[in-house]
Amino acid sequence: MTDGAPRFLSSRLLPGVFEAIGEVPRLTVLDAGSALPESVDFFSQSRCRLCFADIFEEVAGEAEEMRDEGVWLALFNRVFDYPADTRFDLCLFWDVFNYLDDIALRALATALRPFLHDKTMAHGFAVLNRRTRVPSAQYGVLARDQISVRPRPLPAVARFPRSQANLESVFPIFNARRSVLHGDGLLEVSLGVS
């Protein structure tokens, strides 16, 4: 990825995530990444509420200084400033898990919990092990089985690559349902509410 053009990543998990969500009157989606044209285009095929909350952008420049869970929680409560009756059917976390430390990730879980229902599904990336290089990328949904990957224009922030086991221990609101290891060491994970 040397320019702004997207590349595409086949996903064996996204179809299952959509299948698990099933039939809903109006799909409500949290995209914790950047608003990308392909995601808007994909979700515009159905009655949908698509909420973009670019957590990477929110924490860029602050990750090194913010150590207190209360400060993180205040930040995420501001980011998730949604009506109280909002319940997400799908949370697209992308690579959020790999650039939040344990304290921040716990705060994220606390802030997000009120907006989940018992069938909320999620998708994101962990890594095979902590030595895996985490790319600085933006992700979107191109198709129900394809993810678009673009280079992220913002400078990199601190990385906290985390395995599936570590993810489940510090992000207890979701359990991993399935995972697929990609060639670059990224571990694609589908999640359901715990």
Partner: protein, 180 residues
């Protein structure tokens, strides 16, 4: 969530309406162009104009200047030009954003944020398009069935979206529209 931008709008609305009255029959002289094929009248808020208050009208409008308040064009087209800076809730039949908007946007038919557009707010429209490079933060409420009058709104079946193969082979009407 953007109510703070709407202070004092009542007392300023009359001045705002007066400032928008510079109607042109031959389209705007600014760099912003109306949608392809349209020879219709476009009113313009020029790049040096600042308006604080409510803007309402019964014609198409281009905003190249600054507006703080609300903009309501009901059944007409609104364009925020590349130099436009708007702190306002916007409502129109179709809306194109080439500049900056902080506020909620309601498009009766469609909303497009172009590659130079930067929007922070919530969008409600049957169809929403982001071009490559567009910046957006907020939520988007979409209902494609509303755009087709008389159709019953479908229940969202998330898994019915296109596969990658379909996305590559089927014509994309939204993209075609953007090129027009």
């Amino acid at each position: 969530m953007f109510d703070k931008y709407r202070d004092n709008r009542e007392e300023q609305s009359q001045a705002a309406k007066a400032a928008v009255s510079s109607e042109r029959k031959d389209g705007p002289a600014s760099a912003t162009k109306p949608a392809a094929g349209s020879a219709r009248t476009m009113a313009t808020i020029g790049s040096t104009i600042t308006i604080k208050g409510d803007v309402a009208g019964d014609e198409n409008l281009i905003i190249d200047g600054k507006v703080d308040g609300t903009v309501n064009l009901a059944s007409h087209e609104l364009i925020v030009g590349p130099s436009g800076k708007v702190n306002a809730d916007l409502s129109a039949k179709s809306i194109r954003i080439d500049g900056e908007v902080k506020g909620d946007i309601t498009g009766k038919e469609k909303v497009l944020i172009s590659k130079t557009g930067n929007v922070r707010g919530n969008i409600v429209a049957p169809r929403v398009t982001l071009e490559d490079g567009a910046k957006f933060k907020g939520s988007i409420d979409m209902d494609p069935s509303v755009a087709s009058a008389g159709e019953t709104a479908p229940v969202a079946r998330a898994f019915e979206g296109k596969t990658g193969e379909q996305a590559r082979t089927e014509p994309d009407t939204t993209l075609n529209e953007k090129k027009a």
